[in-house]
Symmetry: D2
Subunit: 293 residues, 4 copies
């Protein structure tokens, strides 16, 4: 084994896909009333995606594709491993009920503030009045677009806040009685803020963003999704644009929907619901199909 | 802690989505000239998917969805975790060059025959003449649909076979000279058969099948993909049908393609290539778009 | 591709390592005041471990190892992949603060009850008086072995309970005002019970048990760890015994500790703290070393 | 959402645990006859581990631990998540039979040179004479420490080399006949070099190194393990030292071995094999136990 500094031209990264001139470490975006997303560190940029892909394709494709085209081709055709070669590390402060949704993404690394080791801080999420909304009639898991009566909404927000303070005072009381921290915290509410370091590669981050920037995601996690998107699009602008074009704003049609569209384009007319039913769509799918146009 | 046999009605599985009457363990499908896929064991069926989903949704949706509809709804809307609750274990015999593609699927469990511990067997993949095809002109990574000249093809197959035998005899010679197995095997060709146990959940298996049943996948791995599909559709017929409708035969349109289709349906006419270019599609994307209709 | 029922003798599993005569599905163990672990389904047993290992080793080791010995050898020497071939699925009811620790184990499949879809149930963890203990002086993250004053402890438990009821009433009030479920639940306390389906393979379950049955784990999760252990030892008795011998009750010595023990055994005497310091141990490590004997 | 550059003092990294003064990107170590490990990029250093751990522990432990001590404490007590916060990306050239062992580590990202897209290069591993050794008598999967007769060894090496050239010429012949690349390569030997980008975090890299620097690992992969170790110890010197002390050169004793040592230290004498048997050790375990001293 001999050690030397490499001057190999193998898979060198092109200059014009370079990282932004200024270092973005430390860039922070505030989220909700007391949370934030802070970029702690990152490794790679658009050029790193190209660099990794070139290893797979060897000399074979160098001439055919320019780099932006290559990145877009890769994402369009599900060649996702080169996107795993870019890594981001964030410091995030977020309410626990959001942390519980977030942590379901398993292909990431996490260090969370521990309520067993340390005293939890007196910080809770108090929603804006505009987010105090009724249950959605069409979305079993979401809130409506309309608002509750502003007086009722204010009462609810006030009660949120009052109960948060009460629970925190009880927590402090338990600690003052020397109850172990791991027990004292068990009645703290899910609206309490926690914080963590979160590290993830670009491919898995795109998957996270697709799900968490979706209109069906809970508003509070969408705020974080958008903050992260705003940060990374400065680091991987070409890949992010491809993500928007081929994933985020793409649309998937089922086998039956695909058949329907082909017929509609060929026959230059709409299909009736009974024709869609004949193609194998259920009632709910027909509604979903119409909603796509 | 008290231990008791549960009679909880919690999340009980409906009878009519039950597993096939006969146990399918041991079901084997031959693949290529000497390989196979054998179902060693499995856990769960369509009913297990419903059962797991019901835990998430509680009583909330029980009335709204009947079970087939629920399974199809889950898959259509990317609620994939209930599909992780079904597990399959296969015994697979396959050429090493296919094993190298296969192993890239990381969310599976594998025990492979070891050439360090054991003597490799004298079994190699010899392609059928019909698979001896030229490099594709349109697919950088694939073979053409046309065949090579049958005489040339026969020569190639004969040479494959002769060299396999030669390399195996050299291998046996090395072993006879007491060379360590881990060294003796290093010149064996990638066409040699290996075997492994492979365990995977249904969600990740669908991902595998989507990629490996695709027309861009190498023919030899597609054969295995189809064998696996033929096995599991007997165990999870409803989920498999949903997989075909919403994943395998679904189609994804990019943001730009979606805009194009919306315009085409509205204006009841085709769009010219320059109109597609204006929407932001590249040359290659326009070709891909046309190929979808 | 031809399909046939296999009668291959390949890697057949030995009879005497067979699963328990009676099916254990549905076996339930109560945990804490309102929780439980219920075995929903499982795939494989001790024989499955041997069967998978035999694929790796081929005929090579068949004569040398009888099966119990093989399982123990595999675990002792970190050949962990055959243990991944056994799978368990549990239905678990547990407090949210425990669920938050639990979910950090990423190599498992989870379907959790959703407070966005469904109304949370009025069930909270109220600790037994004996668990109302002061902060540990030696373990920054744990509770002491001694109890708090019983009167104080009773007061704390009463306050836990009262606040839980208050928060639940507020929750019901929010729902009555038609506040969206996903918002109404944000002030519910971490002591609330949730439930989920949890599926994991034996190798990763051993890792879970090693960490969660450890004396440094929070008492409440240890209760669940022990319940799971009590269930699986009925299904994989040989592997579980090996787990106890080689993992759970094994002990690891650092490089320096190993040197110290070798000297102590050779010189048949103890080493002084300054001798241990010379070997490179820090103060804390010396304390830890003494605690091991 | 407001965006601003953060000046938060939260979890700031200490200066004296800083990265090496010079950037190590591009550092390359040659491996075997034609392979190499090249450091393409990395994110983080010893200070990053401390930084992530501080998020978990909050202010709680700041005074008790200085940073080197904290890193060592974390590793000693299996608090492994902070080590996941450091990431490395390597470009590696290695023989395929080693790549097949390597790829079994699933928690890493890989882009490999593709023989479907590109023509494989005429580069094969030819072992040094000193590695042409007989099968080990004690290690079913390894080679002996002694050498084969040098004349025999030379013959074997010559035959390796000749057959590699022959197989490559056949490969070139197939390509000249326009056989698709994905087919032409199937008879290439496992000794052929491939290359890939490989990205992994420090925790999982330690796991890789523990297994692949072990004396039971095949010599050829150990060479790569040592090359990687030599690179990363320049980036995370404190963590690497802790890895050596608490993982690589640590030793694990089973429950029975632990009992034996306790007795031996207490009674200041050795135990006989029959006493070890009484403690529950098998024959093989007794041999392994003696080998530890």
């Amino acid at each position: 084994m001999t050690e030397h500094s490499s001057s190999l031209p193998v898979s060198s990264a092109p200059d014009y896909l370079s990282a932004p001139a200024h270092n973005l470490k430390g860039l922070t975006i505030d989220c909700l009333d007391k949370g934030f997303v802070r970029l702690v560190d990152y490794m790679g940029d658009d050029a790193s995606i190209v660099q990794a892909a070139r290893v797979s394709y060897g000399d074979g494709t160098k001439k055919l594709n320019e780099d932006r085209g290559l990145i877009r081709y890769l994402l369009r055709h599900l060649h996702t491993t080169p996107f795993e070669m870019v890594e981001f590390k964030f410091h995030i402060k977020l309410p626990i009920f959001i942390a519980r949704q977030w942590i379901r993404h398993r292909t990431a690394n996490v260090n969370e503030y521990s309520g067993r080791y340390s005293v939890m801080k007196d910080e809770f999420y108090v929603p804006e009045l505009s987010q105090i909304r009724p249950q959605s009639n069409i979305n079993k898991q979401g809130r409506s677009d309309t608002a509750l009566d502003p007086i009722v909404a204010q009462e609810i927000v006030d009660q949120f806040s009052a109960s948060q303070q009460q629970m925190y005072q009880e927590y402090e009381g338990y600690l003052a009685q020397d109850l172990a921290r791991e027990m004292a915290r068990i009645n703290l509410p899910l609206s309490m803020y926690t914080e963590w370091y979160w590290k993830i590669d670009l491919h898995n981050l795109f998957h996270f963003l697709r799900l968490r920037m979706d209109s069906h995601a809970q508003y509070e996690i969408r705020v974080y999704g958008e903050a992260i998107a705003n940060i990374i699009k400065q680091i991987v602008p070409v890949a992010y644009e491809a993500f928007e074009d081929y994933i985020l704003h793409s649309i998937k049609f089922s086998r039956m929907e695909y058949q329907a569209i082909q017929r509609m384009l060929k026959e230059q007319r709409s299909l009736s619901d009974s024709e869609l039913t004949e193609l194998g769509m259920g009632k709910r799918e027909i509604t979903e199909f119409h909603a796509k146009f």
